[in-house]
């Protein structure tokens, strides 16, 4: 009985992990692409906001 319970719990966790991996790897899944691209958008905004102090025209330090 305890073995069955442990097996069920382990199977549930394993199944969840495998389904999560399949979801993350499925490029044709619309919801997956939606979430991934939303994260990429947030990362892009973060990069853009941190470019304020970036100046290409400033003289480079002499090494």
């Amino acid at each position: 009985m305890s073995g069955k319970k442990s097996e069920g719990k382990s199977g549930g966790v394993t199944g969840w992990i495998s389904s999560a991996c399949r979801f993350a790897a499925d490029r044709n899944d619309f919801r997956r692409n939606l979430l991934v691209n939303l994260g990429l958008f947030a990362a892009g905004v973060w990069v853009a906001r941190n470019l304020s102090d970036f100046d290409l025209m400033s003289p480079q330090p002499v090494t």
Binding site: F30, G44, A48, S52
Partner: protein, 338 residues
């Protein structure tokens, strides 16, 4: 003989209780000090400083414009353009396009700018049109009817047939903009497209609005509604559009005088597709150079290089697009004279 003291005037008697004209104060108490009465102020009481009026938010279609301008424009083949100004109001241009994917073509364009001056660098009516070697026409007529009402008509023909024509009217209020567009109306068939836009300034930084698209064809009709919000900061603009067709979010950031960055996120529920694009624009004024680059989530890399060859009236444009997934490369080259 009289005394000297007898000649002086007698002193007044001390005031006693109950004397008329005087306030009686019990012993041990003193009157509180009274401040002098101030002179009346020049500004009338009750009036407060008014807040500055809200600005006009601009057109609905301009919400994402700043971000889109940062991305490179795809160009294919070789394009040679010659611009010639015939007068202060009339300009013509000749364009030759050599392409390996589509048919090569020649286009003749004309631009007329009227004499009605509405602002710095603005004059109406504006008529823009071009025709290619097969006789297909693209034309636009923009006119400022009143100080707040502007109208535009667009015509497109494929050789001798009208394929697209639309008219729209835009009303710019003090803190809002409303527009209505009619596309391809056919009274006999009972078909057409009507698009309504409204954008309202809520604060000096925030503008909210909506879009309603109604389309009708024989046996079919439908509406698509979208809501939009735009927040304008000191050096950034964030815009979000939510609707039945999908989501469109854009973020524009001006890092400094040379660098502008844009990030765009688009979702299409109908096509079940989504993409993110990161782009930047680098201006080098000393070299008369503008460079644009982009990278999107479909692994498409784009780049544009525009350089003015001063003091000649010559502009050089290079464009390249690489699609890593489809293993497709596309490049373009353009020269503009005048």
């Amino acid at each position: 003989m009289g005394s000297v003291l007898a000649a002086s005037a007698p002193s007044p008697p001390p005031p006693g209780p109950g004397a008329p004209g005087l306030v009686s104060v019990p012993p041990g108490f003193t009157m509180p000090p009274v401040s002098p009465v101030s002179a009346p102020s020049s500004s009338p009481t009750g009036q407060q400083d008014t807040e500055p009026p809200l600005p006009n938010p601009g057109g609905f279609e301009e919400c994402h414009r700043k971000c889109k301008e940062v991305f490179p424009v795809q160009m294919e083949g070789v394009r040679l353009t010659v611009n010639k100004g015939l007068s202060n109001h009339f300009q013509v241009n000749h364009t030759v396009l050599l392409s390996t994917q589509a048919d090569s073509s020649y286009r003749f364009g004309a631009t007329y700018v009227g004499t009605k001056q509405t602002g710095p660098g603005e004059a109406f009516p504006v008529m823009v049109g071009d025709m290619d070697n097969t006789g297909s026409l693209n034309a636009q007529v923009i006119h400022q009817i009143t100080d707040k009402v502007r109208s535009k008509f667009v015509f497109q023909t494929q050789q001798q047939k009208f394929v697209n024509w639309q008219g729209d009217t835009e009303f710019k209020g003090e803190d809002f903009t409303a527009a209505v567009t009619f596309g391809n109306p056919d009274v006999l068939m009972g078909s057409g497209i009507v698009v309504a836009h409204y954008l309202q300034s809520v604060t000096s930084s925030l503008a909210l609005g909506g879009e309603l698209v109604y389309h009708r064809r024989p046996g079919e009709e439908g509406t698509v509604m979208s809501l939009a919000g735009r927040y304008t900061g000191s050096n950034f603009i964030a815009t979000l559009t939510l609707g039945g067709a999908g989501v469109h979010a854009s973020y524009y950031h001006k890092a400094n005088d040379q660098l502008q960055v844009g990030v765009e996120y688009e979702v299409s529920t109908r096509m079940q597709d989504t993409s993110v694009t990161f782009g930047y624009q680098l201006d080098v004024p000393k070299a008369n150079l503008v460079f644009k680059g982009s990278l999107d989530s479909n692994w498409v890399v784009g780049a544009n290089l525009e350089k003015k060859l001063q003091p000649l009236p010559l502009s050089l444009a290079l464009s390249a697009y690489l699609d890593h997934r489809k293993h497709k490369f596309q490049c373009g080259f353009g020269i503009t004279i005048g």
